[in-house]
Structure formats: C-alpha cells, structure tokens
C-alpha cells in the first residue's frame, strides 16, 4: 500500500529504451514531498523521458518508479489522479475557446468548473471566449499553466515551462510552483533556463546522454557547476 506524504517521487534503476536507442539509463532518485527538483542537461539528456515515465505516459523498460507511493505501472490511474504533466505541446483544442478547454479539463480531471478563476490567474480572462487557434504560442503556454492550476496536482511535472513566455508569464511558472509547494506538493521541472529554475529548486539532478551525472542540493550547486551540468559535463 502506498504511503502518501513522505516521498513525492522515487525511482530505482528506472530506464527506458526506444528500440535500440537508450533514452534513459538506470536512474535512482527520491524527491521528498514539498520539494522542487530541477532537471538540467543538454538536448537528448533524458529529461523529458524521465518526466513522461513519472507521468505514466511511458512505461519503463527497466527499474521502477512511484509517485506518492503509487507504482507508475501497476497503479497508473492512482498516479494520474495526483500528477499533472505540462509538456512542450500545450495539449489544447484549437477549435475550442480557452474557457471551453479548461471546462473540459476540469470535467476530465474530476474537478469542479473553476475555469474562470484559472484564466484569471494566468491573465487570460479577457480572451476566455476566444478560440485557442487565435492565441500566440505564449498565450497557449499560459493556458496550459491554467490547466495545471485547475487540476490541483500534488506532483507537477513541467517540461521546458519557460519557453515562449514573457517575463510575466515566467513569473506565473514561479507562482504555480510556489502554490503547489505551499500545499505540500512537489514539482519537477526540466528547463534550459537553469539560472531561473535553480532559484525555485531544492534539488538538482544533472543528466547527460541518458545518464544521471549529478544529484545535489540546489544550495550546494554553484553557477559554474550548474552551467557545466546544463552542458552535460560533470
């Protein structure tokens, strides 16, 4: 049985291959509840693969992972109830309005319809009734963040959350991270904006070519070390 509370996410020898390509070599980590983990590494390091494995979007080819004690393979549905993944594609329907998209997300996520409040949080109230196809990339990104607000995750997985966002939009990522943390939840963010990301983080994991090259407390990681990790060097 799972033990909610203590550990938000853990992985033991977690690995994933795509045919002959190894996307993630055996990785182990433990993220306490209420903590924020920053994943750094160059393109193809395995950051997105790790996030998608924890989100139950991919199945591991070796090892195991759990979210709040729920195994990501055997208890995938329980994991999906507490975990929200905001990927690089916004996952919104272009033919629906922003409000309709969020109302749909609320219905599918089993939440009350708080679409209007979520739109207000991300500064999209004025365009709530506009079709998403008329939105800029940054506005779609904001809408994806609104969906995450609305679904109230205990584990939030953010893949490249700062991309396409203006300064205010980036602040929304900070606010969302702080909000999840304040409710006892955890956040894992993978980003190339590592200078900004490390300010939010409690832990840093460096990945390079699918390998876990470093695991450290965010307070211990100096900017030169962080730059090296982001470039795939130890």
């Amino acid at each position: 049985m799972p033990h909610p509370g203590g550990v938000a996410a853990e992985a033991h020898g977690l690995a994933r291959r795509f045919d002959r390509n190894v996307a993630l070599r055996p990785l182990s980590l433990s993220l306490p509840a209420g903590a924020v983990l920053l994943l750094v590494g160059p393109n193809g390091a395995g950051k997105t693969t790790l996030l998608r494995l924890l989100a139950t979007s991919l199945r591991p080819t070796a090892g195991r992972a759990a979210v709040f004690g729920w195994d990501v393979v055997r208890n995938a549905d329980a994991v999906r109830r507490v975990c929200v993944y905001v990927g690089t594609s916004h996952g919104m329907y272009e033919g629906l309005t922003a409000q309709e998209n969020l109302a749909f997300a609320a219905a599918m996520g089993g939440k009350g319809d708080t679409a209007r409040a979520a739109l207000e949080r991300v500064g999209l109230t004025g365009v709530g009734h506009h079709p998403v196809r008329t939105f800029s990339t940054g506005m779609k990104r904001r809408l994806a963040l609104a969906r995450a607000w609305l679904l109230e995750p205990r584990l939030l997985l953010l893949d490249d959350p700062f991309s396409a966002l203006d300064a205010d939009g980036m602040g929304l990522v900070d606010d969302l991270t702080a909000h999840v943390k304040s409710t006892g939840g955890s956040v894992i963010l993978a980003t190339h904006e590592w200078e900004r990301g490390v300010r939010l983080a409690d832990m840093v994991v460096g990945l390079a070519e699918g390998r876990q090259v470093a695991t450290a407390s965010a307070a211990e990681v100096t900017p030169p070390r962080l730059r090296a990790l982001a470039g795939g060097r130890t």
Binding site: T56, S57, D77, Y85, G91, L96, E100, F104, M108
Partner: protein
C-alpha cells in the same frame, strides 16, 4: 465525477469541434450521397434495392469518418494530455463512441430522406421501424469503428488500413441491417431472425470492444 460524466464531456467536446468545423460530417454526407446516386443509376432505382444501397453508402461513409475524432487528438497534439487524465480509458472509448453514433445517426436520417425521394419509397408509415433498424446497425458500426480507430492510431497509412480492418468485421452487422430493413419495407418473413443476428453482434461488440480499447490505448 463519474466515468459517464467524463464520457459525456468528451462526446460533447468532439461534437462541438465537429459542429464548428463540419469537415467530417460534410465529407461523409457527400460520399454517402455519391454512392447512393452512383449505385442508383448503375443498378436502377428499384425500391427493393434501397436498403442495400443505403447500407453500403452508410458503411463506406462510416469508414471515412470513424477515425476522425481519435485522429483529431493527434493532429491537435492533445492525445497525451487526454490519456493522462485519471480514470479508465473505457470512458474515452464511450465518449468517442457517442460522438460517432450521433454523426452516423444524422447521416442515416439524411440517407432515409434520399431513399424516400430517389427510390420512391413511402417512409412515413415505417419510419419508427426503419430508424430502429438503422440505430441497431449504427451501434455496431460505431462500436467497431471506435475500437479500430484506436487500434490504428499510430499506424502509418491508417486510412488504407481502416477499410481492411473494419469491412470484414462489420460485414455481419451490415448484412443483417440490410436484410432487416428489407423485411421492414416489404413486410416479408425472417425479421426476427435478422433482428436476433443484429442484436447479438451488437451485444458481442459492445461487450468486447471497450475492454480491448482499454488495452490498446494503455499501449498508445
């Protein structure tokens, strides 16, 4: 939020998107109309042939349209998000199924009108029975179509594969629907037998398809 409410939300979303675009229903209607006109001219507008022509048109149009609600998820890059909502994937199946069912029912209504006009069939006295038969057939087509749309979701050339998968398996449904519609229109014997065949296949597909869909989408 129950699974049925999730299915209803998904069906509503799919129908809303279709209503705003009207791409699938238009293509299905045009194809069905062309098939009816072509077969009507080639083999003659004999009222006895109307049920067969109607169902051939409906089955071909279904093949064109049943993949669209699932395919649209990929085109909008929303499939991963959809699959990561909590709950069984069966509710996704029922949501897609309901949206397809509504579209095929609209198409059936149009085809019955065309049948009445082109084949000079007096539909009004038999309309409730014809709609009943139509719905039974459509349930079978939608049930199989939704499953196969999920099955071919990541297959290249799925548009080519879909008829090869759907037609042979849907054959008993189409055949029984044609025969039952003939019986309704002519008042001939054998209605109960064909009703039994159609209902049995519908039940079988309704029981098996959602379970298989759950497995298929878990691997998607």
């Amino acid at each position: 939020m129950s699974a049925w409410q999730r299915a209803a939300a998904l069906a509503r979303k799919d129908l809303l998107l279709e209503w705003r675009g009207r791409e699938t229903i238009t293509a299905m209607a045009v194809l069905a109309l062309l098939v009816v006109l072509l077969l009507g001219f080639v083999i003659g507008a004999d009222p006895a042939r109307a049920p067969a022509i109607t169902w051939v048109a409906l089955a071909l149009a279904a093949m064109l349209g049943v993949t669209r609600p699932t395919q649209a998820e990929i085109e909008q890059q929303a499939l991963e998000t959809l699959l990561l909502y909590p709950g069984s994937r069966e509710h996704i199946y029922w949501g897609k199924w309901a949206a397809i069912l509504v579209q095929l029912t609209v198409l059936l209504g149009m085809l019955l009108v065309v049948q009445g006009v082109l084949f000079n069939v007096d539909l009004w006295p038999k309309l409730p029975a014809l709609l009943g038969v139509g719905l039974l057939g459509i349930v079978g087509l939608a049930t199989l179509g939704t499953l196969f749309a999920g099955l071919v979701i990541h297959v290249r050339g799925r548009e080519l594969l879909m008829p090869l998968l759907l037609l042979p398996v849907a054959l008993p449904v189409v055949l029984a629907a044609v025969r039952l519609m003939e019986v309704v229109m002519t008042g001939g014997p054998g209605g109960l037998v064909w009703f039994g065949v159609l209902a049995a296949f519908d039940m079988l597909f309704l029981l098996v398809a959602p379970v298989l869909y759950d497995v298929v989408m878990e691997e998607a």
